[in-house]
């Protein structure tokens, strides 16, 4: 696609529910990144994919968070048993290769009630 696409744009859910966030990167981009941004804060790195593999999962905050990427394209970030502190904007970025500029989607704003 022309840009990085994320869905849903907004998600409101109850504490304890599972959520899935989707990222469709720019066509041909092999590297894909997930970040989290809490209100008024900078970006927090979560996970990075090169193709379908995730060489760096160091940023995932707990074992409730997981991510996968299939076909070297679309990625899904899953949060199980959501907590209120999971409320944030989740941003996805992609780049042609790891060393190239990262381009961001508009994010998913997640609110946990």
């Amino acid at each position: 696609g022309a840009g990085v696409s994320q869905s849903p744009s907004n998600k409101v859910t109850e504490k304890g529910k599972d959520v899935e966030l989707r990222c469709d990167p720019i066509s041909g981009h092999t590297a894909l990144y997930w970040y989290r941004q809490s209100l008024g804060q900078g970006l927090e790195f979560l996970i990075y994919f090169q193709g379908n593999s995730a060489p760096d999962k160091s940023g995932l905050p707990s074992d409730r968070f997981s991510a996968e990427r299939t076909g070297g394209s679309v990625s899904t970030l899953t949060i199980q048993r959501t907590q209120q502190e999971d409320s944030a904007v989740y941003l996805c970025a992609s780049s042609l290769t790891q060393a190239q500029p990262q381009h961001f989607g508009d994010g998913t704003r997640l609110s946990i009630l």
Partner: protein, 108 residues
């Protein structure tokens, strides 16, 4: 790990003014990007600048990697320039290390 410091943290200017935003980093980096996050939260890639100077309209950026800093210049500011400006040096694993940002407000 690499530490990133951006200054000033906040900047309020009148429309038409010029400004310089600074990014210092604590170690050698592979590359560096500047981003603008607009008031709606969208992150726009401004520059990908490992060294030297680049210009794009009213914006330009300079990175002096040997001295571990980068500068973003905004000339003739417009209200649409408001938002937060982030610099992101890349470490040896090509991971972006995010600064805390400079919040810029341009008043009409």
């Amino acid at each position: 790990g690499i530490q990133v410091e951006q200054s000033p943290p906040d900047l309020i200017l009148q429309e038409g003014a010029n400004s310089t935003l600074r990014c210092n980093f604590s170690d050698s980096v592979n590359n560096l990007q500047w981003f603008h996050q607009n008031p709606w939260g969208q992150l726009i890639n401004l520059f990908y600048i490992p060294s030297g100077t680049k210009q794009n309209g009213r914006l330009s950026a300079t990175t002096v990697a040997t001295e571990r800093y980068s500068l973003l210049y905004i000339s003739s500011s417009q209200t649409t320039d408001s938002g937060v400006y982030f610099c992101g040096p890349m470490d040896s694993n090509y991971q972006l290390i995010w600064g805390a940002g400079t919040k810029l407000i341009i008043k009409p």
